[in-house]
């Protein structure tokens, strides 16, 4: 079959602004987009640059935008990718382009991955037995580690668009694995480090990452699981811990959220600067009778049961 590949060309030296080039190729019906790129480079234009390694969807190298949407070129049959006989190819949006479809994966992925210190400290040499671990736990670890760092979730992330320093869902998903690993001995240190600026608390849990993940890993869920672990251990930045504590206390005591109390307690009762920061918004809200008043916050009828659930969970998770 005949396809037209409309590719972004870019070369920082000779073609700084980038341009587009269309290649007309006669391809086998079952070819993937990556196959066609290789074919174009072999047969028509040796100067075309792109990445792609394993050709089967295990290495994460060939992420690019196919018709505007991030995909793995190796898992995209051309027959499905064609729109009116054409396939447009671009690098992902949030990356630094290097040449054509090649982009800087270091800055986008690998450096952030390394920053999460994803290794576990192996036991001193000479162990003769494996750790005893339940298969259920192993499945959880395998699911997290099936991430190939292809960057699709980062491409979808709503925070990275506005703040490139955010670790992003890919690195945080990989960081989840050692935290969930019963063989790891430094979980609290990990959670503290992942709580630093640009870490897990900067995630807005918008589930874009989950929607973008081609492996169904559910990166957003991994980040929420990291947070669940941190909440359980009272770990986070001071603001985050205060906020979470206040939120939980409010629900535990009354069954529902006391927002006025939450706002004040999140800033910290001794944090005068932070509390003053609330004043303009709060005053305006009061004037509009928008803000809830703390003294009006009443218990809900079922609150004793909510409290019971909370207490049981707290007891069990100890």
């Amino acid at each position: 079959m005949q396809v037209n590949l409309n590719v972004r060309r870019y070369d920082p030296v000779s073609n700084g602004n980038g341009s587009r080039q269309t290649y007309s190729v006669e391809v086998e019906e079952q070819s993937t987009v990556l196959d066609v790129l290789i074919q174009v480079r072999d047969e028509q234009d040796a100067t075309l640059s792109f990445r792609g390694s394993c050709r089967t969807g295990f290495c994460g190298d060939c992420t690019m935008r196919v018709n505007g949407k991030a995909k793995w070129a190796c898992r995209m049959p051309v027959s499905k990718a064609q729109v009116d006989g054409e396939i447009t190819l671009d690098p992902p949006r949030l990356v630094k382009g290097l040449k054509d479809l090649v982009y800087d994966q270091e800055e986008f992925l690998f450096d952030k991955y390394a920053a999460t210190k994803p290794w576990i400290e192996p036991s001193p040499p000479g162990p003769t037995e494996e750790h005893i671990v339940s298969q259920e736990k192993i499945k959880e670890l395998q699911e997290a580690s099936s991430c190939t760092l292809c960057g699709m979730c980062d491409e979808g992330c709503t925070v990275l668009i506005i703040d490139k320093s955010f670790l992003g869902p890919a690195a945080l998903t990989r960081a989840f694995k050692p935290v969930a690993d019963p063989r790891d001995k430094v979980i609290e240190r990990r959670l503290s480090e992942l709580s630093e600026k640009r870490g897990m608390w900067d995630c807005v849990h918008c589930f874009e990452a989950t929607e973008h993940c081609p492996k169904g890993i559910d990166p957003t869920d991994r980040i929420l699981s990291l947070r669940d672990e941190a909440i359980k251990r009272g770990i986070g930045t001071p603001r985050v811990v205060r906020h979470n504590d206040s939120f939980a206390k409010s629900i535990k005591s009354s069954g529902w959220l006391d927002e006025a109390r939450l706002a004040i307690e999140s800033e910290g009762l001794t944090n005068i600067g932070g509390l003053m920061h609330l004043v303009p918004t709060a005053a305006k809200a009061m004037a509009h009778r928008k803000a809830p008043l703390p003294y009006l916050h009443k218990k809900r009828p079922g609150s004793k049961h909510i409290k019971r659930i909370f207490e049981k969970w707290e007891k069990d998770s100890k």
Binding site: T158, V159, I162, D163, F166, K197, W201, D202, C203, V204, H205, C206, F207, E208, T210, E211, D218, T220, L224, R227, D228, I231, K232, T237, R239, V240, H243, N244, F247, A248, I251, G255, W256, L257, D258, E259, A260, S266, T281, K284, A285, H288, R289, K290, A291, P292, H297, R300, P301, G302, S303, H305, I306, R308, I309, F310, K312, W313, D316, S317
Partner: protein, 294 residues
């Protein structure tokens, strides 16, 4: 049409205008609401799911006992309840564990049959937007409205947009059209508003709020409408701070979905308690009112 009504915390707390507006609109449309009063917060993505799942299972079990589907008026409540419901429905063992460990003491059991629907989906799927259109007495013909969904009505798709329910992806725009309004298409409509990181990372949060409201404003929106009160807290409540952050005037009124419906059904802005908003809704009132006088 009868629903177990789960209003959520914010509709009575941070956005006290939402609850009365929703009650009035539902009554006018003939949607019968039975408010669930003795249930807990969904966790809103802040509580550990280990504790919010049992609390949500309790809510779902109570609705099941009432024999009614749940209606929410908050995307976040909707998402959290629905995600918890998903976990409880697909994994009967997990459900049994929660029943045994947390609900049995109260004599409750969740069997996994409760449906949870946001007011927007109730309008689109149960009530019908064509029927809604018939109820409109004050079509919002001059109003240019940008939709803003809130994350949890869109993602994760396998939970909230199952097969056969694809219209959920455009239901808010369709609702605006049914009310006579003009849809302003934006790229930000399905993105995060920024509310969840208002405390941990205010700069990023304000950047998001500013980006979304400015985009709508620049594309000619008179107002933004959202089915999520948390988005409202962000887009309305922090808009002035986002203006400072962006160094630009924005001044975009943000309406709750029931308020927009209410205006089209003939309620006054006062009845919809729009005076409680931090960003003045005067321009919206102007356009909506003028139409009503014709």
């Amino acid at each position: 049409m009868r629903y177990a009504f789960y209003p959520g915390c914010v509709a009575k707390g941070g956005c006290p205008e939402l609850y009365p507006a929703a009650i009035k609109v539902a009554e006018k449309l003939g949607i019968e609401l039975f408010e669930m009063k003795d249930v807990g917060c969904t966790g809103a993505g802040v509580l550990s799911r280990e504790v919010s799942d049992p609390i949500n299972a309790r809510t779902l079990a109570k609705a099941e006992a009432m024999g009614l589907p749940i209606m929410t008026i908050c995307s976040t409540c909707q998402g959290c309840l629905m995600q918890a419901n998903h976990r409880l429905v697909i994994d009967p063992e997990y459900r049994a564990k929660i029943n045994r460990e947390y609900l049995a003491e109260e004599g409750l059991e969740y069997r996994g049959t409760t449906d949870v629907k946001h007011f927007l989906w109730v309008l689109d799927e149960d009530y019908g937007l064509d029927k809604l259109q018939e109820m409109v007495v004050n079509p919002l013909e001059e109003l240019n409205v940008a939709a803003f969904y809130g994350c949890y009505l869109r993602r994760p798709p396998e939970v909230v947009v199952p097969k056969g329910k694809e219209s959920r992806k455009v239901s808010l725009e369709n609702a605006i059209k049914a009310l006579g309004g003009n849809v302003v298409a934006t790229k930000g409509k399905g993105k995060c508003c920024g509310f969840p990181i208002l405390y941990p990372n205010e700069r990023n949060s304000l950047e998001m709020c500013g980006t979304h409201t400015l985009e709508a404003k620049d594309k000619g929106a008179d107002a933004m409408v959202t089915p999520c009160p948390l988005c409202h807290l962000e887009l309305d409540g922090t808009q002035s701070r986002a203006e400072q952050h962006k160094g630009k005037k924005i001044n975009l009124p943000v309406l709750h979905l029931p308020q927009l419906v209410g205006l089209a059904l003939g309620f006054s802005p006062k009845e919809m308690e729009m005076q409680r908003h931090l960003v003045s809704t005067a321009p919206v009132e102007e356009k909506a009112k003028r139409k009503a006088e014709v």
